[in-house]
């Protein structure tokens, strides 16, 4: 069963909410109840086939062992190449789900694996950085396989998550948390099941299939709105559910279509993913360029960082041509935007002007929608 789809899932979820809410209002810890609910929900999500359970257990055991071993190794050695080997091992399951048939002649699949892999890599990198020096296996399992976010994020960070599970909220704090959780859950359901469904059934599905400019343009806008309501809706539900279980999973969307430029868009769209890429790819690449004085101009370093980061982001969605082009498109757009905003005197003179602000927002929205048209694969049929 997929999380947040079907009435049965919500039925079970609401029953489990009761226990969390009672414990929360009494000011009791939610940790052990959360562990138990999570286990049950995992069984519900993965339990429909033996193969799924075995793959999930193998994945968990492997990643957990890797993290514990690396934490141990890191206490004695801080060579960077050891980190690289560990990261390679940690993404091996992801590689097998993408190219399993070519590599081991087997089809391997695990729900949410690309999201789970991000969490493991974060733990490994922060262990190298010296920010993590121990990991409780049970807490790690709860973090990695936290059911509200298991299928498609948001991608939480381990130190933040572990702080939440060890923090016992007072009654007032929990009630405020609960209020926010219910609001987000409701908003998410409204986005996904109402707005998303309307766009999908009454707009996207009604577009004629013959390929002409008008139809493609119409599809571009319909798909962009559908993608937003569907994904932001799912994300809000996942975040809201987390809150009710006492975990403040980070938000994933913050009215992205009202961004003034592409850089702002990426601070508002699928934020947990773009911040992950910012923190663990862009920042690392550019910092090493700057420290080693690889380029005379720091902006060159930054632009190369943007292109590599966004290309990786595209490739992470899949290795099909349209995903790679999508990544490059955004990489180039970010560089161009940054250059333009730094160099253009005209831009500097009008950027605080309200009318021009509306124009920039409109242009950004259209550039983003065109990006989603690439992403949809429609242009490459």
């Amino acid at each position: 069963m997929l999380p947040f789809s079907g009435l049965f899932f919500f039925y079970i979820l609401f029953i489990f909410f009761i226990g969390a809410i009672i414990l929360g209002i009494l000011g009791k810890p939610l940790k052990w109840y959360g562990f138990f609910v999570n286990l049950f929900m995992l069984w519900l999500i993965f339990g429909n086939s033996k193969k799924n359970i075995i793959i999930l257990l193998m994945f968990l055991t492997g990643e957990l062992a890797l993290v514990e071993i690396y934490i141990h190794i890191r206490k004695h050695f801080n060579n960077r190449w050891i980190l690289w080997i560990m990261i390679l091992f940690s993404i091996l399951p992801l590689i097998l789900t993408k190219w399993g048939e070519q590599l081991i002649h087997r089809h391997v699949a695990l729900l949410g694996i690309s999201y789970l892999t991000f969490k493991v890599v974060q733990v490994l990198i922060e262990t190298y950085d010296g920010l993590i020096d121990k990991m409780n296996p049970l807490s790690f399992t709860y973090f990695l396989l936290f059911f509200p976010t298991i299928s498609s994020g948001p991608i939480d960070r381990s130190r933040r998550f572990l702080e939440d599970i060890s923090h016992v909220m007072k009654k007032e704090e929990y009630i405020e948390n609960l209020r926010r959780g219910i609001y987000k859950l409701g908003k998410g359901a409204f986005f996904k099941f109402f707005l998303g469904a309307i766009v999908s059934n009454y707009w996207m599905a009604k577009i004629p299939t013959d390929r002409n400019f008008i139809n493609i343009l119409n599809y571009m806008y319909a798909y962009s709105f559908y993608l937003y309501f569907d994904f932001a809706g799912y994300s809000f539900m996942a975040v809201g559910t987390s809150y009710i279980f006492g975990i403040k999973t980070p938000d994933n969307f913050n009215i992205p279509y009202l961004s003034h430029d592409i850089k702002e868009f990426w601070n508002r769209w699928h934020m947990s993913l773009s911040f992950w890429f910012r923190d663990f790819i862009y920042t690392r690449i550019v910092m090493s360029f700057i420290k080693n004085k690889v380029f005379k101009n720091k902006y060159t370093a930054s632009y190369i960082g943007f292109i590599i980061t966004m290309f990786t982001m595209g490739a992470w969605h899949g290795t099909q041509r349209h995903y790679l082009v999508y990544g490059l498109y955004h990489g180039i757009l970010i560089c161009f935007t940054d250059y333009f905003e730094r160099k253009s005197k005209w831009y500097k003179s009008v950027k605080n002007n309200e009318k021009w602000d509306t124009v920039f927002t409109f242009v950004t929205f259209n550039l983003v929608c065109f990006g989603f048209l690439i992403f949809s694969g429609k242009l490459f049929i």
Binding site: L131, R284, V286, M287, I290
Partner: protein, 76 residues
């Protein structure tokens, strides 16, 4: 240290607004972006010998000049 931090921030942000307003939000006002944060971390390491890891510093810890100074004085 305060003087030095402010002059580092001025260099990175390319403006002298910083000395006039210690509580200006560096991110909201577009003075500090992802590249700026990296430069700040590198400059702090070079000048004060404080090694900060990229995900160790939260953006809310360094969102104004005053906060940057407070954060660093806690670290020394």
């Amino acid at each position: 240290m305060e003087e030095k931090v402010l002059s580092i921030l001025e260099d990175i942000c390319g403006t002298d607004e910083i000395k006039n307003d210690m509580d200006i939000d560096l991110f909201e006002n577009g003075l500090l972006d992802s590249l700026g944060v990296i430069e700040l971390i590198v400059d702090i390491e070079d000048n004060f010998n404080i090694k900060l890891e990229p995900t160790e510093v939260k953006r809310e810890d360094i969102s104004t000049p005053r906060k940057v100074i407070e954060y660093l004085s806690k670290r020394t």
